[in-house]
Amino acid sequence: MIASKPNKARIVITGIGLTAPNGNNLTEFRESLLTGKSGVQKFNVRYMGEVLAGVCNFDPLRYQKKKELRRGTRAGSVAIYCAHEAINDAKLDLACLDKSRIGVYIGITEHGNVDTEKQIYEIKQFDYDTTFVSHHYNPRIVANNPAGEVTLNTGITGPHYTLGAACAGGNIGLIQGFQMLLLGEVDLALAGGVSETIHAFGAYASFRSEGALASHVEPEKACRPFDKDRNGVVVSEGGCIYLVERLGDALKRGASIYGEIVGYAINSDAFDFVLPNSQRQAECIKIALGKAGISPADIDIINTHATGTREGDAAECQAISKVFGNHTNVYINNTKSYIGHTMGAAAALELAGNLPSFEDHIVHPTINVDQLDPECSFKNLVINEPRKVDKVNYILNNSFGMLGINSVVIIKRFE
């Protein structure tokens, strides 16, 4: 079915730019995933004191001037770094491109709360006199900020916007890029997701109030999806932006191709503000498989969304069971166990960590599973040690978010 599509209707990934708490490019990130290197550490946050977080250490001055850094947001900085890295990775020269034909589509969980908290903290020093609110505040907190900062930095004049999709943001950004290429709206898309959430105390405080903030004496063991002793989410920052283009264009310029986006789906639970719904998640996976024109047996790896909460992990496992059955041969892993929950970046970043499997035929494991929760037991759940496999042709990437937004992306190995 896919092969019969014309090349202009086939969309491929030809560049990846990322920053994760355990790597600032795909090579470093993959190495960390294969050697069990976590990126979770102790981190100090206003009003919260010491918390656990996934913190990135990329060099923002590689692509930004000091003034840009001072003016912009952390999410903008993450996006700029990832966008440049993706363009470079795709072996494209920005100066030679038609910048009006590039779109920037970035998924976010939320945006603006970091600077809102900061402004309120600042005016508190002046007895809440609002004349001390910065004139930079509005451009920092508008929802398009991270994508807009990419265009300001690069001179891209095509469309830019963010897609607010809770923790499914990264998949939604990629899907948007795919769709805009398919519609012919742009010729290149910078698509993915970013997060700056670790700099907002509210995120930790709210998860804690929900009883869903992870804690552990050893920070690198705090995020433990599928383990009986999991106790919540590790809040992390990060970013991953893909350079996506039509297959015909990629072949014409001799680009290296990471994979082809062959299936995707987005649906809604219409059920609860925070609780997941396995039935709707299963439906989402089925819709994506249907769009790809493949069956569950064709999928080789599922990157799970599982965040390390009791209800969330169990619901996703039920959804996978509904679609794949309990005795499936699909390999199942989890990337948050290393880096925590990178929120708007999570889906894009976790997918990227798996893409090298098409070439090296290794499935990275989910780490920190000391006592597997029977509710999360699958025949081929890859735990603690990487697994060498015979083939990887399809990777399915789950990503779900609050208010019941579900998303699935399926990538096919390009041959």
Binding site: K67, S134, H135
Partner: protein
């Protein structure tokens, strides 16, 4: 504050606002914006810093008086001499 102290405070603020610029050859009597890249939002940062650090309010009608270092010092001196 003396005029010299006001000038060094001003230079310190400008250096923080436009950290990529080399200010060593900045001329006191030529508009700052003609010598370095300093846009209207940067200029508002100067106003905000004066407000935050010294409680000085510069009305919008007076902004033009802060065009050069020299004119800024002249404008600020009566407002900062007792600080």
């Amino acid at each position: 504050m003396t005029k010299q102290e006001i000038k060094s405070v001003l230079m310190e603020i400008v250096a923080e606002i436009i950290p990529d610029e080399d200010l060593t050859n900045l001329k006191d009597d030529i508009p700052i914006r003609e010598q370095v890249e300093l846009d209207s939002m940067d200029f508002l940062d100067i106003i905000m810093e004066l407000r935050k650090r010294y409680g000085i309010e510069v009305p919008e009608d007076d902004y033009t008086q802060l065009a050069t270092i020299e004119s800024s010092v002249a404008y600020l001196e009566p407002r900062m001499r007792d600080l």
